[in-house]
């Protein structure tokens, strides 16, 4: 049975909604609570609604936003370096990068790479520009190579590393230690999507990149035959991984694992 009440403006609404929304007058509240005491069905309805609200709060709790803050900072840095904006904007963006870095450092989420405080701007400090135009695996590799495989950021521990992948590609991932493989850090490139994650590593002293993105966006990537690079592909849960390497065989892909499966 649905109970309705008339609000002061003449609108007729469900009594439970009016009660929860604080739309009742004092006398209507007294009357409604009296009815609640008398009608088990109405009491059940109200309890059900309260439990639904609790469920919504649990299911739709927003993330901490750390990834978004990092992305904002990176985009500001990239924009300021891209030469597309006005002078004012470029000045703003540089200031913003510092401010964002301070804000993020304050919450201790990311270990920010030095580009956030670099006076010359991100590219001058050797950071690979992200949010740039769509690029190929080979081109992204060449850009990274030119920048000496300097990452955008370094995770402070395994939990953070795993979380980055969980949030970016909906698949937590960790990297097992392997001989000759030295992880350098993470970055973004516009390869599969605008936010394809890159793990930059040194393998036997050579720069290798593993590009990771959501499997359902995977178009199937290769490198041209005339390029002196090889590509190896692996699917892992909801993620697709491409290892781009100057070496003859893949050395990193197999070291990835899903921590929830261990």
């Amino acid at each position: 049975m649905t109970h309705h009440i008339k609000l002061q403006d003449g609108t007729v609404v469900d009594a439970i909604d009016a009660y929860l929304d604080g739309l009742m007058t004092a006398s209507q509240i007294v009357e409604f609570e009296k009815t609640l005491g008398q009608q088990e069905e109405l009491r059940g309805e109200l309890k059900r609604q309260q439990r639904i609200d609790e469920s919504l709060a649990k299911q739709f709790a927003p993330p901490d936003g750390a990834l978004t803050r990092a992305v904002i900072a990176q985009a500001a840095a990239d924009t300021s370096d891209g030469g597309n904006g006005s002078g004012t904007f470029r000045l703003f963006a540089r200031g913003f990068v510092v401010a964002a870095a301070l804000a993020m450092a304050a919450v201790g989420v990311w270990r920010i790479a030095d580009f956030y405080t670099a006076d010359e701007g991100p590219s001058a400090s050797g950071v690979i520009p992200a949010w740039s135009s769509e690029t190929t695996l080979a081109d992204a590799y060449r850009v990274a190579e030119k920048n000496e495989f300097k990452p955008h950021w370094v995770c402070k521990d395994d939990a953070e590393f795993s979380d980055v992948f969980a949030k970016s590609v909906n698949q937590p991932l960790l990297l097992a230690q392997s001989s000759g493989v030295v992880p350098l850090g993470l970055g973004y490139a516009h390869v599969i999507t605008e936010r394809t994650l890159m793990l930059l590593v040194r393998v036997d002293g050579r720069g290798v990149i593993v590009f990771v993105d959501k499997l359902n966006y995977d178009p199937g990537l290769t490198v041209p035959e005339d390029v002196d690079l090889r590509v190896f592909r692996r699917e892992l849960g909801r993620a697709v991984l491409y290892e781009v390497t100057p070496l003859d065989g893949e050395r990193v892909l197999d070291a990835f694992y899903d921590p929830s499966q261990k």
Binding site: T68, A99, A103
Partner: protein, 205 residues
């Protein structure tokens, strides 16, 4: 009712006096608005895992267009438009690639029953799960994007209907109507699936 500082417009939708997004406080303003913007994104997308992608992309767009923001006006309302735009674009792309049902309008559209729902942690939940939370979520999938967004902003962010109206560009009465109808639908669905009070397999209300 919870108070939401900064992130809400004035009750009449007028500019939020005193909030000026200058060069150095975009991040701070965005952080203050983040929860509301994320909830708008998840309301439109119906997918918690994609919502953060959307707010990230919207942040980039907002940052690039910051010179169009008028100091002294409401930052959250300004960004809310961008979040909606990005989320709808995202939906269209998904639709184009056949990964999502029709979701071209941010209004009364009622999506078909999706086969599964992705949660904030990226896990995929199949429809028809026995848990209360799953049933709430499945029932929520039956309502349109606007109704879902209004409900989340009202229930979880404690926004007044006038504030929701201002953020989403709809009349306050429509926002209230969306919330009330959606609550009722959820209660009906949960009553239907869980039966009367206390009858849901020890999962008493």
């Amino acid at each position: 009712m919870r108070s939401v500082q900064h992130a809400q417009p004035n009750a009449d939708g007028s500019p939020h006096a005193g909030v000026s997004v200058g060069p150095f406080n975009f991040a701070a303003e965005y952080r203050r608005s983040f929860n509301i913007l994320w909830r708008i994104a998840v309301g439109v997308m119906g997918d918690a895992a994609l919502a953060e992608d959307v707010v990230q992309e919207a942040a980039i767009v907002g940052l690039r267009k910051i010179d169009q923001f008028q100091p002294g006006t409401n930052f959250t309302a300004w960004m809310a438009k961008t979040v909606k735009y990005v989320a709808l674009n995202h939906n269209r792309k998904e639709q184009k690639h056949g990964r999502k049902g029709d979701s071209s309008e941010f209004i009364e559209q009622v999506p078909e029953q999706a086969p599964s729902v992705r949660l904030a942690d990226g896990t995929q939940r199949e429809r028809g799960g026995a848990g209360f939370d799953e049933r709430v979520s499945c029932a929520l999938d039956e309502v349109g994007q606007m109704a879902r967004t209004c409900l989340l902003l009202r229930t979880l962010d404690g926004l007044e209907y006038s504030e929701i109206a201002s953020l989403l560009g709809i009349p306050p009465g429509t926002a209230m109507s969306h919330v009330h109808r959606t609550r009722k639908l959820l209660r009906q669905r949960l009553a239907a699936t869980h039966g009367p009070l206390g009858a849901d397999r020890g999962d008493a209300l």
